[in-house]
Structure formats: C-alpha cells, structure tokens
Amino acid sequence: MSEPSTAPGSAATVHPEPIVNRLSVQVATVNGSGSQTANSTLLRAIFQMGIPVSGKNLFPSNIAGLPTWFTIRANSEGYIARRKEIDVLVCMNAQTAREDVAGVPPGATVIFEESLNLAGLRDDVDFHGVPFAKIVRDVCPVVGLRRLVVNMIYVGVVAELIGIELQEIESALKKAFATKPKALDLNVDAVKAGLAWAQENITAKPRFQVRRMNKTAGKVLVDGNYAAAVGALFAGVTVAAWYPITPSSSLTESLIELAGKYRVDEKTGKNTIAIIQAEDELAAIGNVIGAAWAGARAMTSTSGPGISLMSEFIGLAYYAEVPAVIVNVQRTGPSTGLPTRTMQGDVMFCAYNSHGDTRHPCLYPANIEEAYTFTMQAFDVAERFQTPVFVLSDLDLGMNLWMAEPFEYPEGGLDRGKVLDEAALAKVEDWGRYKDVDGDGIPYRTIPGTPGGRGAFFARGSGHDEYARYTEDGEAYAHNVDRIDRKIQGTADKLPQPIFEGDGTKIGIIAYGTSHAAVQESRDQLRGEEGVATDYMRICSFPFPASVAKWIAAHERVYVVEQNRDGQMRNLLRVELPEVSGKLLSIRHYTGMPLDARTVTAALVAAEATAKETR
C-alpha cells in the first residue's frame, strides 16, 4: 500500500526486546492468485492460539491481475481496528513491491520472492528473499496447481518467523479443506516446506512475535455479511430479493447458502424462503414491498447505487406503510466510486430518502454481534412500525473477518406488529387501515387473503384517508403525514439505544458503525499518551432517542468521528438536535480505507490544540 506510515517505527535492524502479540502482517499479492485461503489460514491459526486478531482485505474492483493486500493484526489488548503500520510484509506482487517496501516503518521484516531483488531498497528493515518458485516446484508436481500452492509456502515462512504454531496452521487448513483430503495434504506439505526453508535460512527472528494466550476462547471469526445473513435467517425472513453489488453480494449469497441447508422443510422438501435475484435494484425493492404487503418478512441487501435506484419505491413504502428491511453495505463515493473500499457515506441519504417529507429508521451495527442482532431486530421494527428500515453496514464490517462472541439464540417470538386476522377483525367495529387507534401513530393492518370479508383495503402511494380511500383533501393529507411522522419518531425508543462509556469528562466522542473499533483504541491512546480523558457515545440508531441530546449537552465539546467527507452523522445531529448543534466538532476520514486509531488520535489532538489556542 502506498499510504505512508505515520507512527514512529522502531529504531533500526538491532532487535532488542521482542514485541509479543502486537503486530501486523501484510501480504501484498495479485487478486485471482488464490491467496485468500493462505491468508485466512494465517489469521485463523493466530486466532486459535488465543490471540485477538482481525483481518482486512484490501482488494481492487477487478477479478484477476490487480494488486491486493491482506492485513492481519494480532493484538493482545484486543484492538481490532485497522493499523496502518506493517511489521511483517510479504511481497508477492512485483507491481507494487517497491511501494510496499517504502511504506513500512523502520524495523519491519520484509519477505519477498527472491527474484524481486528488493534487498537493496532500504537498510532499516530486514529483508528475506525466499526462493518461492523453487520451493513450490519441489513440493507440487502438478504445474497447474503451483500458482495456488505457492501461497502456502509464505504461510510456512511467516509462521516460522513470528512463531505461529504448526498444529494451529494444520487445524485451520483442515477446516478449509474439510472435503478435499488430497488438497489438504498438498497444502500442509507446502506450509511445512516454507517452514523448513525459513528454519534453515533465517536465523535472526523478527522482533514481532506471537505467543499463545487465552483471549479468543469460544469466539468466532466471521464477516459481517455472513452475520447479517444469519440474523435474517433467524428472524424468519421469508422473501429476500437482491441484485448483486459489491460489497453486499455476499450477504444474500450467504443467505442462499444457509437457506439451502436450514430452510428446506423436512417434510415437504420445499423451501421455506424465496430468494430471488431481481433484474435490478428497482425490481428488488419492488419485490420486497410486494411480498411485505402480502405478509412476508422481506428484505433486500444492496449498496449506495442500489439505494439511489430504490428511492422512489422507498417513498412508496414509507407513505403506504409497508414494512421492508434494507441492508445497505456502504462503499466509497458518490456514483460508482470505489466499489471495493469502505465508507459511511449514505447516512443522510438513507435517513431522509426519497422526495417529499420522509424519515426512516436506521440501525448502525458496529460489530459482528450487531450485524447479527440488528438485522434480526430490523424485521421486528419494520413490521411493528410498518415502514422501511435501513441497516447501515459497510464494506469493512460486511466483508472483513472479525472476531466475535458466538451468536445468541433469539429469545421470544417474532414481533409481527399490529396485524388483524379474521377473528380480531370481527371484534373491531370501525376498522380503518390508517387510523391511529392507540395514539402511537401505528395503525392496524391486514394481510391479503384474510377471510371474513372485512379486511380488504386499497394501498396506494397517492393521497388517502384513514380508511385507505383515495382523497385529495389537504387536511386529510396533513393529518395522515403528521401521524406517520409521530409513528416514526416513536421508533427512537424501540431501536438499539446508544452505548455510553467514560466517567464524565468535558470532551465527548461520538461514533457509530465501524468507526467504533478505531475510536475505542484511540481513546486509550489519548488517555495513555496524551493524558486526555474522553467520554464516548456510540450511536446505534436513528431517529435519536432523547438520551443522545442529553449526553451531548452534558459535554463541552463533542467530536463526531465518521468515515465520509461531509460529516453526515454530524449533519444529521445538527438537523435533529439543533439545541446542541454548537457543541459538535467533526473528525472525518474518507480515503476508503478502514479507519485507524492513529488518525482519530492525531485529529483530536490537533483539534484540541486549536481549541486551546482560540480559547
């Protein structure tokens, strides 16, 4: 990667004390070269040694041939945000090797394919040229497989150098090749060959080492899209419509995989879920709205361009009050942007999506647990409030591997909201589809097909009265949209509530979604390195509950940390909470790379310095 390192590196090639369980390994390679299994093997092996890890896959919007990087961070403190500084670099890509080498801090270790001849580039890092081509020739007789198998050799080399236990590598490989014993043997051999070569040829071990500890027991290693798919699965989703788009595709693809295993009726052999690949996003959301109106728990997954295309239908669902779960796995940029980079870029666009007066509940999962639970909960919210609900994930959460607590089985049943069946209808005297009976703005709905002759109504995106009858009456219109607004405001207390940390200092930090990990680490840096104590509120949903304004009001200055250019959550807070608007400062990061703690720390320290000066 070409991003310059910002933190001070270690001195030079002298290696004093080893640094244990605090390191980053980066593998620079070419996409389509099959390095994925090798990289996740490294990650998983460290994880199995009980060391907290996280993996970030930085890949191009391309199928094969362009540079790609995989970064593994192991950290005994449990920091799992991206870290820019690379301690151990594996250079498998001639295209970027020079830049990659230039990017590491002094003291790093660089492993490279011998023929790349990198050793002379710097004298403040340790170079190890490895004859990958030669080794793979010896291990793998089938020429066609060598391109893949060579990756396992660097696994062996890295394992030997930083101290990953072979048995854990083997067990990770067993998992990956569970159904392919032959491939398993071949790969294990390759790892061993790498290991052996390193044992023989590299005497000075790098400073950065891993050593077994016990901080990952019981945990799982998974990406957010998979977690969201599991959430949807256990939410009892019955219709999912989608159109492929990076970085959301793997969400519904995971759902397809899971449904194929777990949603086939044992008795009938039939699918208890319909997953439909629509012709585009307009159709996907149309499918969801049709299905939800007809009673299904329905969802779609997409990314920014899909949201733009869904806008008209989202307005319809809002106004005709049809539930819909929309998981938006955000990516970088307006338009096509950088499809394989991350961003929290659709915060404003989702909150007020579509023309006219609208407002939509949004959930902001920050980790795997929440990708699972928030997605599940979104269905309850959508059905209870009869409205589209956004789950705003992003590429970093959705497509990268994160450590997490195992999913908890949902307690209780589904909240399907105010649905009247034949019996219930019979008891209601004067049912009106859009009547506010309970004072919460939420009307009672019926599902097409309900017998008894009393439940039929006519849904529409044009003006309608409490009985769902067409009207152009202005007062009826205003009355209706006021009720809808009340209804949506009422979601605030039913959505995941903000999470507060800190003991009441002057400085507050607000973050949400994947900015969380970096902020957590940054707060420790601020306290430890700068002596700056901060309070922290993590926002989990929109509309904001009253506690958000209260917390902001209780602080002198509040930094909103987020991953977009315009400070969109900050803007949303400005709109909704003007009374505390003046306290909000903004820290933004929008290169498309996941946020790292150093960036937050540096920005906050600089801002505080300015604040002091101008005070």
Partner: protein
Amino acid sequence: MAAAPKTNKIGLSVADYKGGASTLCKGCGHDVITNTIISAFYEMGVEPHMVSKLSGIGCSSKTPAYFLNGAWGFNSVHGRMPSVATGVALANRELVSIGVSGDGDTASIGMGQFVHLLRRNVPMIYLVENNGVYGLTKGQFSATADEGSVSKGGTANDLPAIDLCTMAIELGCGFVARSFSGDRKQLLQILKAAIAYDGTCMIDILSPCVTFNNHTGSTKSYDWGKDHEGPVHEIGFVPNWEEPDVDFGAGATVEVPLPDGGVVWIKPVNEHDHDPRDKKAALDLLREHHQSSTVYTTGIMYLDPGRESLQDDMDLPAAPLWNLPLETTRPSRAVLDEIVESLR
C-alpha cells in the same frame, strides 16, 4: 318480496364483485374492461378476498379501485407493478393476482420489469389497457402508438410501435391474448380462461382514450377498432366444474385443456385456422398484421398450458410463505450452534 339476486357457485352476486365508482372520463375504454373483469370473476366464482389487484400509475392503473371491493388492492408506482406482483406471488401463492397497466406504464417506463415478469412466468393476469397515449398526463404518445398515427393536436408519431404480444410470446409467456374494449364478449371469455390459467397471462387490450385519442387519424380509437378488429377465432371457456355443453360444431374446433381441468374452446373464424398452441404460427400471424395494419387481430394468440410457474421453479411449498409457523422459518437452537461451530 324482491327476487333474490342471481348468485354464482360460491353464492355471491355480481354486486359482490363491484368496486368504487369510476372517476374516469365517460366512455373511457378502461371502464368497459373494469366491468368485464367484474363479470369474469363473478362467473368464475373467485372469492374476492383471495384476489390481489395490482397496478402502476395512469388512468388504467386507477381501475383496480373500481372492481372487487372485497379484494386487496395495491396501486404502486409508475411502471413497476411487475416487481410488486412478483413479490406478492412469492409471499402468498394462493392469491389470484390481477394487474392492470397502461401502455405507458408497461411499454415505456415499465418495459424492463415487464420483460422480466414474463420471463419468470409469475402467475397473474397482466392486462395492458392500451390506448396509445398517456391518458393521465394528457395525451402524449406512448411506445405502442403506431407509426404515422396522428395525435389530437395533429402531429404524427414517427416511431414504430412496440407489439406487446409478440414480445410476450418471444419471452416465453404461455398465455398471450389480444382484445378490444369494444368486444366485451370475447374479452370475457379470455379473462375467464386467464383466471383458470396458472402462469402469466398477458392480455393486450385496445382500450380507447375518448378524451385524447379517439379522433380520426388515431389507430386506437373506437371507430378504428370496430373497423379493423379481426378475431382469429371465437373463444369459449368452460371452467372445470361445468359440463362442456358448448357446441362449436364442426371439426375445426380446438380444445385446449388447462391443468386445473378447465377447457378453452376455440372455433376459427375469418378463414383463420390458428391453433394457439403453435408458437411460430402465432408470431407469424402477429407480424403480418402488425405490419399490414389493415387488420387488428384479436383472440388468444398463444397458449401453452404446460409452462412451470415461478413458484414451482423456486420449489416453494403449497402454503403461503408469509404465514409459515415460526418452527418452520426460524431454525432451531441446534442449527445456530452448528453455524457457530463452523465459524470457530
């Protein structure tokens, strides 16, 4: 004592199939279709509460409010009814869906979704109330307006018309018919057959817009329709609970049994011997007449009783998905454990 009204096989009277009062222009072709829909559902004895009425936006798209008050209606957004209909079909396959669209709604803004609805064979009746113009926005030409036909204001349309029947057949639709608001008798039989059919029924109906496209020079006016209509056959439909007592006479009559037991009868007229099961013949017939524009050919152009519906394609259960019990839609604790284990 007043005589009890006539009722159908489930004991309902025609009144039970009516909708709200139409707000369309007096004489609008769409109203004729609305009334024919009422008759068809009445005669077929469909339970109104098992019907979903879907539409986009336009004068035509308003009409679901004017029939079957006891059915569920969804007037969605312009041109995107097909996707809504697809969702409905997935959620509850027991519903009988009827979608009403216009030529603007289908052939202009809705073309993409229309094509994919046909390709998927979503079971529903899809009506295009085709008047060659955008009625609701005051008479602009739509994509089905014939080349050379003249607008009320006097401008000639210089783009070729899209033939929706040809398109539907090419896309694999198994029930493709063409009719005319001015020919209620034919339309009624087609609609009844469509109600019995399992799959997409695309019915393209010339339905004059009396306000904006009913003048001389228009090829979508009542007069033009009356002067040009050339039915390829006389059509009858005998539902599965009735004896086929229709006597069409001679051997030229074609019977097409539908899987549900109903039978479509067809008796060639106008010297045609079109067998609607012959796809190539159907396409040739349409092409000839689309190009000649001297005859407006009506009837069931193509009928393939055997095509698999979307829900069967997707291996869905017989019961509506939306209402499956929680035990069926939420996997067990053991399954979650299994999933978690696989991630360790």
